[in-house]
Symmetry: C2
C-alpha cells in the first residue's frame, strides 16, 4: 500500500512515522526542507513535488487549513499520480460544509474519500495513538484499515458521509478552545490571588473543575513555558470555524465567542505562533498581573 | 467526639451519614423536617434547635451560603453549646475574605476553625469520598482527622490560615461553572447540527475536548433529565463570588462573565432549582433548537 503523507507538521510527522513503523511504504511531502530531512532521518521516503508522484494507493492530508487542502489536491497533478480507486484521507480540521464539498470533488473522480479529522496532540501522534473522527463509505473505511491501525488508538466511525467527522471535530474544538481559555482565566486569577500555581494544578486536577486541557496546558502557565505544542493561531482558525458554522445555523455560542476574542487579541499582539496557553498573557496584561516567566 | 452536622442537603447528608458509618456520634440539624427524618432513618441523631445542643466537640457546616453560615454560628446559642477548644469546620463555599472574617470571630472565642470547602458531588459525599480543600492551624487539622477520614478521599492541606481553602474552591468553581456552560454550548450546537448526542458524549469523552463536567453533565442534556444534582442557583452564587472577588483585585474574567450571564438568565427564567445543565435551555431557546425532553 503506497502511502503519501502531505504536511509533516506535529500531527502529520507523527502519522508518517507511525506508518513507517508499521511497515507501510510511506512518502512524505512538505514545503519545509527541514521537515523532509527529519522524515528521511526517521526512515521515510520524501518527494519535493506533488507533480512527480505515481502509483499512490493512499494519501493522508495533514496541512493547516481548508485552502491548503484544496491547493494540494486540486492545484497540483496529485490526483493523476493516484492509482484507480485510491484513498484520500483528509485529516485537516475544516468546516463540515467544506468537507462535503472536497469529498464530493474527490469521489466524482473515482477515488475514495474519508473525512477524518484527528485529536490527541503531537506526543500521541508520534506513538501512533491519535484519535480519528472518521466518516466515509464502508469500502473506504475498509481500505483505510492498515493506515488507521498504524496511526491511531481510537477510530470513531461516525457515518457514511463526508461532513460527519468534521462535525464531531467542530464540537471537540469548541470545548478544547473554551477549556484552554478557562484554564488561562483560572491560572491568571490564581496568580492575582498570590496562590501557589503548582499547588493549584495538583489540587484542581483531582477535583470537579478539571479538564483534559487544564491538566495539559495549566503547567505551561505555571512554568512560564510557551513553546508551541499547538499554537494560538490554530484556535483563531478552529474557533473561527465553530462560530461561523454556528452562526450559519443561528446557534448562539457565547463562550466560544468570548474565547475567540482572546485568541484573536493574542494573535494581534504577536503571540500567534506561541503555545495556545499564551492567551493568558492577554488576561494578565489587562489585569496588571505578573505571571511566571514574565519579564514585564 | 460529639459531632454536629448543620445542613443536611446533598453534601451535608453524605458527610453526616459517613460520620455515622465511621462510628462517630453524630447529630444532624436542618430546617427541613424531611431531611431530619431521612437522617434518623440512616441511624443519626437529630436536633430541632441549635439552642438546645451541648457538649459538642466538632461542628460541620454545610449550609448554602455565607449569610446562612453566619446565621447558624452567630444568631443562635450554638457556640455556647460547644466544649472548650471545639472545632468548627466550615464547608460552605464563600468568598475568601468572608472565610477570614468568620474564622477570626470563631478563633477569638477560643475555638478551632477550619476553612474547608468541599468538592465531588452528592454520590461521592454519600460514600465518604469527597475532596476537602482545607486551611487551618496544625492543631485544628489534627483534631479534625477522624472526621476527615470519615467523609473524604482527599484532604488538601493548603496552609495555616482561613481563606486559603476558599481561594482554591473559588478557582475550582470558576472552572466548573465555565465547563458546564461549555458543555451546554457544545451539546446545543450538536443538537443544532442534528448530531447523535449520545455519540457526541461517547467520542468527546475520549478526546482532548473532555472535562469532568462534560462527562458528568452532558448526559443530562442528552437524556433531557434536569433533576437537580447541583442547581443553577448554586452557580449563580458561586460564579457571583468568583467575579466579585476577581473584580476587587482588578482581574478580568471574560469566560466566567459569559457563563454567569447564562446562569443568571436561566434563574430569571424560572430554572434556578433545576440541574445546572439546564442553562442549555437558555441557549436552545435563543437558537430555536428543540432539545431531548423538550415539549416546545
Amino acid at each position: 500500500m503506497q502511502t503519501l503523507v502531505i504536511g509533516l507538521g506535529s500531527m502529520g510527522f507523527g502519522a508518517a512515522v507511525s506508518c513507517v513503523r508499521s511497515g507501510i511504504s510511506t512518502t512524505g511531502f512538505d514545503l519545509n526542507p527541514d521537515a523532509l530531512e527529519r522524515f528521511e532521518s526517521a526512515g521515510g521516503n520524501t518527494t519535493k513535488s506533488l507533480d512527480s508522484i505515481a502509483n499512490i494507493d493512499c494519501v493522508l492530508i495533514f496541512v493547516v487549513n481548508a485552502s491548503q487542502a484544496e491547493s494540494v489536491l486540486f492545484d497540483s497533478q496529485l490526483l493523476s499520480g493516484l492509482n484507480p480507486d485510491a484513498l484520500v484521507i483528509n485529516c485537516v480540521t475544516l468546516a463540515p460544509s467544506k468537507a462535503i464539498e472536497i469529498g464530493s470533488r474527490i469521489t466524482s473522480q473515482g477515488f475514495q474519500y474519508i473525512d477524518a479529522p484527528v485529536s490527541g496532540g503531537a506526543a500521541k501522534a508520534l506513538e501512533g495513538r491519535m484519535s480519528v473522527m472518521a466518516s466515509a463509505s464502508p469500502q473506504a473505511m475498509s481500505q483505510a484499515k492498515p493506515v488507521f491501525d498504524a496511526i491511531s488508538e481510537h477510530v470513531f466511525e461516525l457515518g457514511n458521509d463526508a461532513g460527519q467527522g468534521s462535525q464531531m471535530k467542530l464540537i471537540n474544538q469548541l470545548l478544547a478552545g473554551v477549556h484552554i481559555a478557562a484554564a488561562a482565566e483560572a491560572m491568571n486569577l490564581a496568580a492575582g490571588l498570590k496562590m501557589d500555581l503548582h499547588q493549584v494544578i495538583e489540587v484542581i486536577s483531582k477535583c470537579a473543575g478539571s479538564s483534559w486541557m487544564f491538566e495539559n496546558r495549566a503547567p505551561h502557565i505555571a512554568e512560564g513555558d510557551y513553546t508551541p505544542l499547538s499554537s494560538v493561531n490554530i484556535f483563531v482558525k478552529d474557533l473561527g470555524i465553530v462560530t461561523q458554522e454556528a452562526e450559519q445555523k443561528n446557534v448562539v455560542t457565547p463562550l466560544s465567542d468570548a474565547a475567540l476574542t482572546l485568541y484573536n487579541k493574542a494573535s494581534e499582539s504577536g503571540l500567534g505562533a506561541e503555545d495556545d496557553s499564551a492567551i493568558v498573557k492577554v488576561l494578565a496584561e489587562r489585569s496588571g498581573i505578573k505571571l511566571p516567566g514574565s519579564s514585564a
